[in-house]
């Protein structure tokens, strides 16, 4: 009797918690979809607008689907209209950015790895201070160093050039890349370095043969971070370069602002997407390593 009573009340509770769970689950989906659409919505508008003709843009609303897939504005954004002077388009600046971002990412990552290696595995007197001052670089607002940097670039004779921008981005990337690598290498057992020293490997051999091969996760994190920072940078680009040496973000700005006649929203949108595509590609290719690298510090093995 008692048993029966208990089991039936258990059944009731079971039923009740089942409904609660279903409700909570749907509520969760609702919230997630809401936030996802909040983020996807601007992208949708950009893509749709870039595929419309100006006629359609004037007549329709933001959200309407284009009547036909029209890539003209993309071609204009990329290659221009071909009427010579005053025709601004992205292609040369896109290559400027590539020429800037590839060496800058490479050098800043490499130097950061090296400094991180020294600061953790070849400790010296005062290394803590060196690290502290390097960290300072992470917190200095970039606006504060624009003038001194301009003087420096001028003295070196590389102002308004891609080389100058590479230097600036490398220098200001080092604090971050050092921080990344230092925090990664600190969890690598120092016994590895000791073993390699006994085996007869020197400073560089240990770095290239022992540490770099196990650094893939943190290299990915650093490269994504640096690539995004440098590719999306507008401040340094607009300050230290103009005209033909400008990177893509500066050119995008010029394009959108300098249109004398009608505002061509479709071309503007297409340009903005083109300027954003490389970072998207990097994220898609390396995104999962990014998460993995951020969360896993320790090297097990």
């Amino acid at each position: 009797m008692q048993d029966n009573l208990q089991s039936s009340s258990y059944k009731e509770l079971e039923q009740k918690s089942k409904y609660t769970n279903i409700f909570l689950r749907w509520f969760l989906y609702f919230i997630l979809i809401l936030f996802a659409s909040y983020f996807i919505f601007p992208l949708y508008v950009m893509v749709v607008t870039s595929l419309k003709t100006m006629e359609e843009i004037r007549q329709g609303t933001l959200l309407t689907w284009p009547s036909s897939l029209n890539f003209d504005s993309w071609l204009v954004a990329w290659g221009g209209r071909g009427y010579g002077a005053g025709d601004t388009f992205l292609r040369p600046y896109f290559w400027n950015s590539i020429k800037m971002v590839v060496p800058a990412v490479f050098f800043s990552t490499f130097i950061g790895a090296m400094t991180g290696y020294v600061l953790t595995k070849w400790r010296f007197k005062g290394d803590q201070w060196v690290f502290l001052f390097l960290l300072f670089g992470c917190f200095i607002p970039f606006q504060a160093i624009l003038l001194p940097m301009a003087r420096t670039l001028g003295t070196l004779g590389i102002s308004n050039s891609v080389v100058g921008l590479v230097l600036v981005h490398t220098v200001y990337g080092i604090p971050f890349t050092t921080l990344f690598f230092r925090n990664y290498y600190i969890s690598v057992p120092t016994e590895l370095v000791k073993a390699a020293r006994i085996d007869g490997a020197g400073f560089f051999k240990i770095f290239f043969k022992i540490l770099l091969p196990i650094s893939a996760p943190i290299i990915v994190v650093t490269v994504i971070w640096q690539f995004t920072q440098i590719w999306n940078d507008f401040l340094f680009g607009s300050t230290f370069s103009f005209g033909e040496a400008a990177p893509i973000q500066v050119a995008l700005n010029n394009m959108v602002l300098s249109s004398t006649s009608v505002k061509e929203y479709n071309v503007d949108m297409a340009s903005a997407i083109i300027a954003g595509i490389p970072t998207l590609i990097v994220y898609v290719l390396a995104g999962k390593y990014f998460i993995r690298g951020l969360t896993s510090g320790a090297v097990k093995g």
């Binding site: 016994e191 000791k194 073993a195 006994i198 043969k209 022992i210 091969p213 090297v299």
Partner: protein, 364 residues
């Protein structure tokens, strides 16, 4: 010629003194264990022998050659680490021959050595594997192999078994012992585990606060600890140290514990210095395993003590006894029945006692 000699060695980290005037010698083929609690400087000493740590004062000699300023790779040593320190990106084979390659050894010699060592350690089937695909015992074996292929004069082991589980640790311990018996190489081995030290070492150097407390054979360390630190550190449970004083009259010497009137005759004790013994305040040291529940030797001293507590640990039990308000421990087979809160007749094996000065804590 001494394979390894350390002379008046001192080491500081900033203002902290880590090692103080260490003197140490090892003959060819010996197995020296550096034993001590954590922070006693034993690992630092090993790193100094390896050349991974600089010296503030003193010298290190290998085969009578002063290597104090010689690079680790040129000291003809090899080291096995606690975390194994296998290079994660290389497979077993590459790990083992890395050192030989750095030394530009000929290809034939490398292949020979690799073959010999890997079959010897039974890792020849694992050569293509990465360290992450090996079990703890296999990693340990590869780490030892990496040291072996270089045919060093001295092997340095830095707590190599601490990362293994209890069962594997005992197995690997035996293998290291076997290895040493077969190869007869000189070994310096750091551990904080006294069982490891006792079973492996031909000599044990016990360290505390950067000073070597005693450096002798395991038997002497166990039977004749040179001070109360060693007496307390070795043995499980450790030696009972009973506070009291000596009484000497004419030809008889005996010990009386504080708050007690019972005289324990210690006429056969081998004193270092016979003078000035009367009324000397001392610790009377007797190991738990040298207190018997039945008379074994003619000279065993019988005594009545109250049992307060008994801890069963399988093959034996540890009994807490009251010796005139001082707690002492005894080890008995678990088969005998102990009645708590009652006096029982026990026997002290006086052939195995140690006496220490109460003030200096040194053996007398």
């Amino acid at each position: 010629m001494k394979t390894l000699k350390i002379e008046e060695l001192s080491k500081n980290f900033g203002t902290t003194e880590v090692l103080r005037k260490i003197n140490l010698e090892i003959d060819e083929g010996n197995f020296l264990v550096l034993l001590g609690p954590s922070g006693c400087g034993k690992s630092t000493l090993l790193n100094i022998i390896a050349g991974l740590e600089t010296i503030n004062e003193g010298n290190v000699f290998i085969d009578d050659y002063n290597v104090s300023k010689v690079e680790p790779k040129d000291r003809n040593i090899a080291m096995v680490f606690q975390s194994y320190a296998l290079y994660p990106s290389m497979n077993v084979k590459e790990n083992m021959i890395f050192g030989l390659k750095q030394a530009r050894t000929s290809k034939e010699k490398i292949a020979d050595q690799l073959e010999k060592v890997s079959t010897f350690l039974q890792v020849d089937k694992l050569l293509e594997r990465k360290p992450s695909q090996l079990s703890g015992g296999q990693r340990q074996r590869v780490a030892i192999g990496r040291a072996l292929v270089r045919e060093p004069r001295i092997f340095l082991f830095d707590e190599p078994l601490s990362n293994l589980d209890a069962k594997l640790r005992v197995e690997m311990r035996r293998e290291i012992k076997k290895l040493h018996q077969q190869l007869k190489t000189t070994v310096v081995y750091v551990t904080h585990d006294q069982t490891e030290a006792m079973s492996l070492g031909t000599k044990i150097a016990i360290m505390n606060h950067g000073v070597i407390q005693q450096n002798e054979t395991p038997e002497n360390i166990y039977n004749k600890p040179s001070n109360t630190f060693v007496a307390d550190f070795i043995g499980s449970p450790s030696m009972n140290l009973i506070k009291g004083k000596l009484i000497k009259n004419s030809n008889n010497i005996s010990f009386i514990a504080d708050d007690s009137s019972l005289e324990v005759p210690i006429n056969n004790y081998d004193f270092k210095d016979n003078s000035d013994l009367n009324n000397k305040e001392i610790y009377f040291g007797i190991r738990p395993e040298h207190i018997y529940f039945k008379k074994l030797n003619e000279d065993d001293f019988d005594i009545n003590l109250r049992a307060d507590l008994s801890e069963y640990i399988g093959h034996e039990q540890i009994v807490t006894l009251d010796y005139s308000n001082q707690e002492i421990l005894a080890k008995f087979p678990s088969t005998i029945k102990i009645e708590l809160e009652k006096e029982m007749k026990l026997y002290f094996d006086l052939a195995h006692i140690s006496l220490f000065d109460l003030k200096t804590k040194e053996r007398i």
